[in-house]
Amino acid sequence: MPLIAKDARHRIAFTLNGEDVEGYAEPRMLLVDFLRHELGATGTHVGCEHGVCGACTIRVNGRAARACLMLAVQADGKTLDTVEGLAASDGALSPLQQAFHEKFALQCGFCTPGLLMSLGEVIERNPDPSEQDIRIAISGNICRCTGYQEIIDAALAAAAVLRGETPPSQNKD
């Protein structure tokens, strides 16, 4: 890629949730802004724009990353996954989404996409995580509503489902 000039918009193309997409952006445009406002993929949220809160976490070539700490131009040619790509094409929730649903692991839902994208990688790399593993893994994702407990429960339940185990029984009331 040759040097691209600050005041011009440049073509950026990548794979988003398995589909080829393209758009135009100035070099300084943040990837999260490009996803949301150029491509209309508003599922990824902006929470702090300094890399602390985790709301904008997406996956870049399979690895979880902050979309506020990447430029749109950096995504060119890469493979990106966002929350919009998690459910099956018929709308069926992924095991992790389903566990979030069943465990009350979301309230306002603003941090949820970042958590889903982070936990997706965590469970892939460590299919049998401990509760402490999950706590550490989501230390870079701030949730203000839930108090994390239900998120941790959901992550452990989803990991169990993905291992082919019967999910832990529903919390008794």
């Binding site: 040759p2 040097l3 600050k6 100035e26 300084r28 724009e49 979880a64 506020c68 230390s139 870079g140």
Partner: protein, 276 residues
């Protein structure tokens, strides 16, 4: 909270990157993982005219053990160092320190060399480099040079890397046989900048302790054969010499206390590791 405008270059190779630095000098900023740089750009704390993005330069994405060093290229991420199969054997200190750096999502993009080049006083990697007595390779169009950690980090956020130079590799000495290593960090929350980070290396009677987060750069002391009260006195003197500052997270006094108290513990852990 959006960056000011800049030109952007994703160079095809190192030469193209160095050419650009040669022309642009201090107006250019090299970006690797961007995990320290991007927040500062977003806050407009810095406004370079051109960003040279080396994150995709495969030639720089390497981790290998050569000549008694772990040599880490400028595009190698902290995550890939953590996943390097030889890490625990080759550098128990780095293996212990790495999980303290930010969060896994930032380690996925953040690079080892980027952290060194950024030179935050609280960062773990500059501390490890200084404690282990490693160095960095700086390259410009004019050639390359190797600089020892102690000469590289000149002040907070300030290094010996010239405006036309790029940090292309870091060299962490491989663990010495018979030496023990330990790392400890006191931070408010998991993944936060350290209030104090400590790295210890014990070889026989030699104790080396590195401390980050107190002075403006990592500070390292080496003592011979110190034990008990004499070691406490040395730690106390070290703590006072570094001074430290108050900020919203902790006081200078607290930082000194951590150097004294956790310093002793981390040295004991390193000694235990050496004895194993």
């Amino acid at each position: 909270m959006k960056p000011a405008a800049f030109d952007y270059l994703r160079p095809a190779d190192l030469d193209e990157a160095l050419d650009t630095l040669h022309e642009a000098g201090s107006d250019a900023k090299v970006m690797a993982g961007g995990q320290s740089l991007m927040p500062m750009l977003n806050m407009r704390l810095l406004t370079p005219s051109v960003i040279v993005d080396i994150s995709d330069l495969e030639a720089l994405d390497r981790i290998e053990a050569v000549n008694g060093h772990i040599e880490i290229g400028a595009a190698a991420t902290q995550a890939s160092l953590g996943e390097w199969p030889e890490l625990a054997a080759k550098s128990p200190l780095l293996a212990e320190a790495l999980p303290n750096i930010g969060h896994f999502q930032t380690r996925n993009r953040g690079t080892v060399c980027g952290s060194l080049a950024h030179s935050d006083p609280s960062s773990e990697l500059p501390l490890c480099l200084a404690t282990l007595g490693g160095g960095v390779v700086l390259q410009s169009k004019a050639g390359s040079r190797t600089v020892a950690a102690s000469d590289f980090q000149t002040d907070m956020l300030t290094t010996d890397c010239g405006p036309q130079e790029m940090l292309v590799a870091a060299r962490f000495p491989v663990a010495e046989p018979g030496a023990g290593y330990a790392f400890a960090e006191i931070a408010r929350r998991h993944g936060d900048f350290a209030i104090v980070a400590l790295a210890a290396m014990v070889t026989g009677e030699t104790i080396r302790l590195g401390v980050g987060g107190v002075a403006d750069t990592p500070q390292v002391r080496e003592w011979q054969g110190l034990k008990g009260g004499a070691l406490d006195d040395a730690l106390n003197a070290f703590a006072w010499e570094m001074g430290g500052s108050d900020d919203v997270h902790a006081t200078a006094r607290y930082r000194r206390e951590i150097v004294r108290r956790i310093g002793r513990k981390v040295i004991a852990e390193a000694k235990d590791a050496a004895d194993r």
